[in-house]
Amino acid sequence: MVTQEEWDKMSDSEKQEFQKKALEEQKKNCIFCKIVSGEIPGKKVFEDDKVIAILDINPSAKGHILVLPKDHYAILPLLPPEIFKHMFRVCQGLSKVIDDTLLVRSTIYIANGAVAGQQSPHFLFHIVPRDDGDKLSNFDIKENHFEGEEFEKYKAIIKQNMPLIMKNHLQRENRLDLLDTSNSQEQKQEQSVSQVESNENPMQKSLSNNPDERREQLALILDNNPQLKEIIKNNPEELEKAMAQDPRIAEIFKGVDIRALSTNLKSMDEDKPRFSGESIEEKAQKFDLDNLPFFDEMDSSASSDVEFEDKVEQNDDVEVETENYGDSSYEEIEDSPLERELSGTENDKEEFQEEQEDIAEENDATSHNPPKVFLGENPLEQREKVFEYFEEKPKAKELLKNDPDYFIELLEHKPEVKLLFEDVDIKLLSKRLREVEQK
């Protein structure tokens, strides 16, 4: 193990490497992996190719069973679908076995995470035989009372995301028919999907080989992730790269002509900008981690928008001063402090947004989503780091400005710097820097 001090000294790539090793080590030392392999004996009740069930050596009741996948997974949401389904089929069977054998009912108990009482990093669940009047009140669900703003916020977040995440799941399972009892929110979504379809007739060409659900799914994904849409529109290469790295993203866009989609989206935007009609708060609550772990847009998009406005206001004075330079050359930009660049890029953004808003006068302009340079979880912090880096290395900045493609290539050889630019839309940044220079 390493001390905290050693850990702090490590670079991020070293940390990643260390964590990878730690996971392997964890598997090597995992007591349940050893039981699966037979290295440690266990009282097996059930075993097949995917799952094993043994008696718990610290049982809460007689006949307390542990059911675990043979492969090592940390928590329930990480189980692959075929293992998941099989495990709960076995779960149902074994609860019946307990019913038939011990003539009692059972409790299924799952702990995800050490905080929740998970004692081993190998996911498993418990089947505990229960009978009327037993002393296992620890499994009781106690009642409490909560109210107030925070609780309401939690409820709203759950209500917002639950239908989305379940719809995505049912889409994957090809069981959208289960949603027939839809509520109003569901209907709204359905509507927007059909809207996309009617608007995206050109898209049919590139997707004609795929079943209708695929197109619907893709349209829904784009609808739910305006940021992703922007990326496809402005930077199809970026997505292609992401596809190469993440098979799940590749799966979503399999058989889709990204470039064609990109031009389609662009032309769509010019013809008639579409709006999701959500408030910023709603957007902040919405996330679609399940489909797109890569582009997490949760709170960051909303908070950065707000932040832009603030900063522009603050920097108004600076702006006036620097405008006196007239045609400010690159040198002047170099000389001026960090804020100049910050306000520059942000102001551009603001202008960009205004342009877009002009185009979209008829519609609700506030809900428009300008392309983001910074896509990470904490864009503000990241931005500061990037500008610090630029102050240190003006040459790198020059390179990024003039030849973003080459810069991206170079990043591949410098993992530490690459981490700094993680999720940064480099081409867009390059464009912004050039715009600043032109002023």
Binding site: I75, F88, L94, G113, V115, M162
Partner: protein
């Protein structure tokens, strides 16, 4: 008043009127069910999938540090014997504890119970491999009639252990062709 967060043809998910913690989601099958075996395998799978995605939302949306998923099959004596599954958001030092006091069992006792369970589980495995319906078998109908009997047995006390044993032996007698 319950706050429904999701529903489809098979399940309904809501935040209970009196939740255990602020991040608490309860999922109930639409079908009337007291035991897991009252549902078909697809319904069980969907129930647990809904629970798993609820856990994901608690992790990602509410920044939970951990989650517990608990399903307790209902006793016939309960007022509303409808099966439900509770997904509980956990954070550091929240004061909750689902942990139990381990029971001390003699190795011999452990062996005996393992054998008993394995015996029946083998039937289940066989049904699973050959795609036969394990739940519609004789046991299913008997479970409903036997379970109350077993609670009656406990009520009458005396030789709980012995009774169970004879029941078990009786059952294995049935199995002999």
């Amino acid at each position: 008043m319950t706050f429904i967060v999701y529903e489809d043809k098979l399940v309904i998910a809501y935040i209970p009127e009196k939740p255990m913690v602020p991040g608490h989601i309860r999922i109930q099958p639409r079908k009337k069910a007291r035991l897991l075996s009252d549902l078909n395998p697809e319904e069980v799978e969907h129930l647990f999938y809904t629970a798993s995605y609820s856990a994901t939302i608690l992790f990602e949306g509410l920044q939970a540090h951990g989650t517990n998923i608990i399903l307790t099959e209902k006793s016939e004596k309960e007022e509303d014997p409808q099966l439900c599954i509770d997904v509980i958001s956990r954070i550091q030092e929240d004061g909750l504890n689902f942990q139990w006091q381990p029971l001390k069992l003699e190795p011999l006792e452990m062996d005996k119970i393992a054998d008993q369970l394995k015996d029946k589980a083998d039937y289940f495995k066989d049904a699973l491999v050959n795609n036969r319906d394990f739940f519609a078998s004789k046991g299913s109908s008997s479970s409903k009639t036997i379970t109350p009997k077993s609670s009656a047995v406990i009520k009458e006390e005396e030789d709980e252990e012995g009774n169970k044993k004879t029941n078990y032996l009786l059952k294995s007698l049935h199995r002999i062709p």
